[in-house]
């Protein structure tokens, strides 16, 4: 079949792009030879590799891929191609958690754990609120999106309220985090994060068929043998958990979950099974590449990666939208 072959080629090219971006992220400015030579040495570049570049690439991979998969999942169940991982208010909640941890000085108490923990907590709090509100509306997609927007806005206002109380020095780190930043995460988190990210993602991979059907709306989905309320709840929870983890690892990184599924859908078609896998690879590629840009574009100044994805992603999306008309 022609289309199958085309899709296989696209997937293979994505994997190639991903590998290139990983090598770039590891070996930028040093060359691949240096990466392989110093991988097992314990000094100089070897140390940089193992303490900084490898962990950072792993986190960019996990977060980017998860954001892509989350985007696909939420776009299907909310039946809205503009939905993204933060649609359900996660960004606002997480920012609130971080701002709170800063103002209460929790960084001094909890150390490196403060921001990831409170970011995740805040994200889950906002999801819980949206969830509780949506339950009464039996998880109607439009109400959920509306609740998500409102909850996120309310939390953001609280963040600005807290900011107005903070002294400007403290704001700097919090702001960096809010803009999406891969540089702050402690290496100690990596071994914990890998399974925490991979388990929910691999669960989502198995629901491609159901996501196809859920995008037809609740009534039709039920007639095709899917039990919508059960899947809505389950898939929302897994996707929100993943998005919360992303926020806790790297702050708020916009556009990945929106633009990656958007582009891949136009290349591969709407079928969700292949789209989920492709969006994982594509999201990981996009974020690793953006991270390379964020590190070296204005070297030695490092940009928050969320700024890069926002600008890069925004322009790509605008270009695609204009070209389509």
């Amino acid at each position: 079949m022609n289309r199958k072959r085309k899709n296989a080629v696209i997937l293979a090219s994505l994997v190639c792009l991903l590998i290139i971006s990983i090598l770039l992220s590891l070996g930028y400015g040093k060359g691949l030879g240096a990466v392989f030579c110093s991988l097992f040495t314990n000094e100089g570049f070897g140390l940089i590799l193992r303490k900084i570049r490898i962990p950072r690439t792993i986190i960019a991979f996990l977060v980017g891929g998860s954001l892509g998969v989350c985007g696909v999942t939420l776009q299907s169940i909310l039946r809205n191609p503009l939905a993204e991982p933060y649609t359900l208010g996660i960004a606002g909640g997480a920012s609130f958690g971080i701002a709170l941890s800063t103002i209460m000085g929790l960084q001094q108490v909890l150390g490196a754990f403060a921001n990831p923990l409170l970011g995740f907590g805040g994200a889950m709090l906002s999801v819980a609120i949206v969830f509780a509100l949506s339950k009464k509306r039996s998880f109607d997609p439009n109400s959920m999106i509306l609740f998500g927007i409102v909850v996120s806005l309310v939390f953001s206002s609280f963040v600005f309220f807290l900011f107005s109380l903070l002294d400007p020095d403290k704001m700097q780190t919090t702001l960096m985090w809010l803009m999406g930043d891969l540089s702050n995460l402690d290496i100690a988190f990596i071994p914990i994060y890998i399974p925490m990210f991979l388990i929910p993602t691999s669960i989502l991979f198995f629901f491609g068929k159901e996501l196809d059907i859920l995008s037809l709306g609740r009534e039709k989905a039920q007639y095709l043998g899917v039990n919508p309320p059960r899947f809505y709840k389950g898939l929302f929870l897994i996707a929100s958990l993943l998005a919360g983890l992303c926020v806790s690892a790297s702050g708020i990184i916009g556009f990945v979950g929106l633009i990656v599924p958007h582009i891949l859908r136009s290349l591969l078609g709407a079928g969700h099974t292949i789209l989920l896998i492709a969006s994982y690879i594509g999201g990981a590629f996009f974020l690793i590449l953006s991270d390379v840009f964020s590190r070296y574009l204005l070297y030695p100044v490092e940009l928050p990666v969320g700024v890069v994805t926002g600008i890069l992603g925004g322009f790509i999306l605008l270009f695609l939208l204009v070209r389509r008309q």
Binding site: R3, Q75, S76, R79, N80, P81, F205, F206, G208, K209, D212, I213, S215, L216, G217, E219, K220, Q222, Y223, L224, G225, V226, N227, R265, G269, A270, G271, T273
Partner: protein, 266 residues
């Protein structure tokens, strides 16, 4: 009489304190082709949703093959009943094959992808529905008539015993209306039980073996088209003056509504 497939027993359905269905009892036998007609708000769509198991009766119960619908799980129900609601829509541009393949979901094995067998099933259905030429097209690029055939094909991919349709042709031109009905009649002749909501009284008269006329959530009359589609019944339920004549080809009644301007004032 044939084996009863659907039976509704004293079904009442209320929402927001409004009684949409008010104590309805009827059975539909295997192989029947039933048209449900009635004015707007008479409860036609609600009946379809109750029979399909999307809504649960407030009182009474609906049974399929002698078992209460509550006893079925969604998957089992979808293996037996295919339903086409009034509005089916998706924001994504699936290909025709992908879309019809979703109909295999209740039969397919759980897991990552649909098997080869399911793909072949879809090819067969596209041939039956005479839409093989739509191969590879995206559903958002189809005409209204083509899309309706694809939607119907998805229902048929469920390999159902019964097909429930909610106004399947009201937005199609007459050519596509007749084409759709010809296909449905063929399926009916092969043994499929069909229950559909219709606005067009003449299509109901022409194709349905039995017509149920609803009025305000109750069954006003129920029987073959000739006995139900009388001007007395229609004028009473629709509150509109009509002329009922006989179709010279089929001998079935056909209904022409009469405008106010032709009515003499008394």
């Amino acid at each position: 009489m044939e084996k009863s497939l659907f039976s509704a027993n004293h079904v009442v359905f209320c929402y927001n304190h409004h009684t949409a269905i008010d104590d309805i009892t009827f059975t539909v036998g295997q192989g029947e082709f039933v048209g449900v007609i009635g004015p707007n708000g008479a409860g036609k769509s609600t009946i379809i949703r109750l029979l399909a198991g999307f809504l649960r009766p407030s009182k009474g119960f609906v049974a399929f093959s002698g078992r209460n619908l509550d006893e079925y799980d969604r998957r089992e129900l979808a293996q037996n009943i295919a339903t086409l609601p009034q509005a089916t829509d998706t924001p994504f541009s699936f290909t025709v094959e992908e879309f019809i393949l979703m109909g295999r979901y209740p039969h397919a094995q759980k897991g990552f992808l649909y098997g080869k067998k399911e793909g072949e099933f879809v090819v067969d259905i596209m041939e039956t529905m005479e839409i093989s030429r739509l191969h590879g097209r995206r559903i958002d690029n189809l005409s209204e008539g083509e899309r309706q055939k694809v939607f119907l094909s998805q229902c048929l991919a469920q390999d159902p015993k019964a097909l429930l349709l909610d106004e399947p042709v009201s937005h199609l031109d007459i050519r596509h209306q007749i084409q759709t009905f010809d296909v449905l009649e063929k399926l009916h002749n092969e043994g499929l039980t069909i229950i559909m909501v219709l606005h067009d009284l003449n299509l109901a008269s022409e194709f349905c073996s039995r017509v149920i006329l609803l009025s305000k959530g109750r069954i006003h009359s129920d029987g073959d088209p000739r006995s139900v589609l009388t001007f007395q019944n229609i004028e009473k339920v629709y509150d509109t003056v009509v002329i009922v004549k006989e179709n010279p080809l089929s001998g079935k009644p056909f209904v022409v509504p009469v405008s106010k301007k032709y009515l003499k004032k008394e």
